[in-house]
């Protein structure tokens, strides 16, 4: 059976697993975004606090995924929950770090001006600082998502959902009928899914760039503007190696 024939015969199953895969990735990244942006916001003003936060997140990232997923079994059992928790933990670092970089990278005159005209800390954060840091934060979210799509495949090991099940079952009977096809379907599926989600996030970034609305309103008069350049994305040095 060729790869395509195999794919055709298992279409429904593969689609379902891809969907499951996407859902667990998006859920864990969403969870990590809430927690990570929260930690970033809470720590970015203090040098010591933000160093500790990023160090812990970086340490988590260095735990091999097999090990972390395995360790989750004891408190959380098998299935969905340990996978979700482990993936969220992995997704934290880029989001925390980019939140901190994004917020500290803002021209300090702006939060100062915001306070000077009578904004509270919270209002300044919500209306001025976070919107300006958003492109950088979103870059962190994209890095996290890419990473999580890959790691999520391993979640099948603890009974998690997704394309990992194809890969594991393929690898378990290498040499058997269709085992290579299974592994291939899982792997290609993961790559395609990663690209698709990243494309969606890139689109989201373009739609939510700060000042976009005002720009389009004024563009008729001044001609098109160069897109706002987002500050250099924080590259994630620790990814990949641990898998």
């Amino acid at each position: 059976m060729t790869f395509l024939q195999f794919l055709e015969s298992r279409r429904d199953l593969v689609l379902a697993q891809t969907l499951e895969h996407a859902i667990i990735v998006l859920m864990s990244v969403a969870l990590a975004t809430v927690v990570g942006v929260g930690i970033g916001v809470a720590t970015y003003r203090r040098r010591r606090a933000r160093a500790i936060a990023t160090a812990i997140a970086a340490a988590i990232l260095t735990i091999p995924s097999f090990a972390l997923l395995g360790l989750m079994i004891a408190p959380l059992g098998l299935g969905y929950l340990p996978a979700l928790v482990a993936l969220s933990l992995y997704a934290l670092l880029p989001i925390i770090r980019n939140t901190v970089v994004g917020l500290t990278g803002i021209d300090p005159a702006l939060p100062e001006a915001a306070r000077g005209i009578g904004m509270s800390r919270l209002r300044s954060l919500v209306t001025v600082e976070l919107p300006l840091a958003w492109p950088v934060i979103l870059t962190g979210i994209r890095v996290s998502t890419q990473m999580t799509v890959g790691i999520a495949a391993i979640a099948a090991y603890v009974g998690g959902p997704g394309l990992g099940n194809q890969i594991f079952s393929g690898l378990a009977n290498l040499g058997g009928v269709n085992s290579l096809n299974k592994a291939l379907v899982g792997t290609v599926g993961v790559v395609v899914l990663a690209l698709a989600i990243d494309g969606c996030l890139a689109l989201l970034g373009a739609l939510t760039r700060p000042g976009r609305r005002a720009r389009s309103a004024a563009s008729g008069r001044r001609g098109p503007l160069r897109p706002a350049r987002t500050p250099a994305a924080v590259s994630l040095t620790a990814t990949g190696a641990h898998r």
Partner: protein, 408 residues
């Protein structure tokens, strides 16, 4: 007199943790309603810290600060700052918000209705000379530096606060733009009569903007707190003198306008008169030269006895071209014009360039002597607030938009 005080600082100090010397030590000053007080001093002297304690961007460590009779520490800092205008270098505009959103920010926080905010934004943009239809929806980066600064001023004025704090507001603009912004702002201030604390390190700017100037030293110690005129005439000590820099007397010329001093009359003669008539007039009047004018009484040239040669039949091209100044120019402009023309007199002309009088180097000297005498008289006990000398800011060209704001 106490009703007149808008801001008062009493023995205000600021100490930062981990620093031995206080950043600001024991500063006391009172600022009257409607005046511009400039804090000027070398960088790092604590002038900005002093200013920021007024709206509690920085909390004073000790001392008392009152704004409009209320102790600022008894007020909620955020509420306080909404009632005090705040302008920083380059305006501090939020880059992701349109000009209108930036300007309408404080009214929005104060809970104004959408319509009232929109109207106010348009009114303010008019006031600072930006056409609302054209600029309302722009982003700050689509404006020039000077325009951003104007928007910054508009934002600070949005809720019509009685007090404004300005931290080197025109610092980041080129000299030409800065000059224009300063003039515009002074014109605005004549109408608005805000109480303004203005921080700068540029002494010339201080002289130009200040009703009174506080020259600050280390730890914001007040070395001298005086009107620009007094400061230039009598610096309190050597350090202040050094800070004022060379040419204090020359800078004084910036404080007075041509229409505030006495002019002389020149012997006018039409350009078509004959050289013989000129010689006769020079003889009769004893003047050093006659001023030739055209039929509209616009001055052309100075013609002296030596410019005329025997046998000459016409006055065309004879003599030295005149230097002209407008009545609203500063004495410095007049002196500049004289030096440029190589002639000890400038002709004062009206808007259409017609002759109105002559300002010569002697009247200029007399004006300077008068200024000194006024200062000396004032020293002898007339301690109450002296009347201000005419300023170079131009209040006569008030625009319709300024009137709108007043009639509000």
């Amino acid at each position: 007199m106490t009703d007149d005080v808008m801001i008062s600082l009493e023995n205000v100090s600021k100490r930062y943790r981990g620093q031995k010397a206080p950043a600001v030590e024991n500063v006391s000053m009172t600022i009257r309603r409607g005046e511009i007080v400039v804090l000027v001093g070398p960088s790092g002297c604590g002038k900005t810290t002093t200013m920021k304690m007024i709206n509690r961007l920085i909390e004073p460590s000790s001392g008392r600060i009152c704004v409009d009779g209320a102790d600022v520490t008894s007020l909620d800092g955020t509420e306080l700052r909404r009632r005090i205008g705040y302008v920083i270098q380059q305006g501090g505009l939020f880059p992701h918000m349109s000009v209108a959103t930036n300007v309408g920010m404080v009214p929005k926080m104060l809970g104004w209705s959408r319509r009232r905010i929109d109207e106010r934004v348009d009114e303010l943009l008019h006031l600072v000379g930006l056409e609302p239809g054209q600029y309302r929806n722009r982003l700050p980066r689509q404006l020039s530096g000077g325009q951003q600064q104007r928007v910054g001023v508009a934002r600070a004025l949005a809720a019509d606060p009685p007090v404004m704090l300005m931290d080197e507001p025109f610092g980041a603009t080129d000299p030409l733009t800065r000059d224009r912004l300063q003039n515009e702002f002074l014109r605005l201030q004549e109408k608005l009569q805000k109480t303004i604390v203005f921080v700068t390190h540029d002494f010339d700017e201080a002289i130009k903007m200040g009703t009174r100037i506080a020259v600050l030293g280390e730890r914001s110690r007040i070395r001298q707190f005086d009107t620009p005129e007094r400061l230039l005439a009598e610096p309190a000590d050597k350090t202040v003198g050094q800070f004022i820099g060379a040419g204090a007397a020359l800078k004084q010329l910036n404080l007075r306008r041509v229409d505030a001093v006495e002019w002389n009359e020149a012997e006018l003669m039409h350009r078509d008169e004959s050289p013989t008539a000129v010689l006769r007039r020079l003889d009769e009047s004893g003047a050093w030269a006659v001023l030739t004018v055209d039929s509209e009484r616009r001055p052309l040239r100075w013609v002296g006895p030596r410019d005329l040669e025997p046998g000459q039949t016409s006055l065309d091209g004879v003599g030295i071209p005149v230097a002209v100044v407008e009545p609203r120019a500063t004495l410095q402009d007049a002196l500049d014009a004289m030096l440029g023309a190589g002639c000890g007199a400038s002709v004062v002309v009206d808007d259409d360039g017609r002759y109105r009088g002559v300002l010569d180097i002697e009247s200029l000297m007399r004006a300077i002597r008068d200024m000194r005498e006024v200062e000396r008289d004032r020293d002898r006990g007339m301690a109450e607030a002296p009347p201000r000398l005419p300023r170079q800011s131009d209040g006569s060209r008030d625009s319709a938009s300024v009137r709108t704001l007043e009639s509000r």
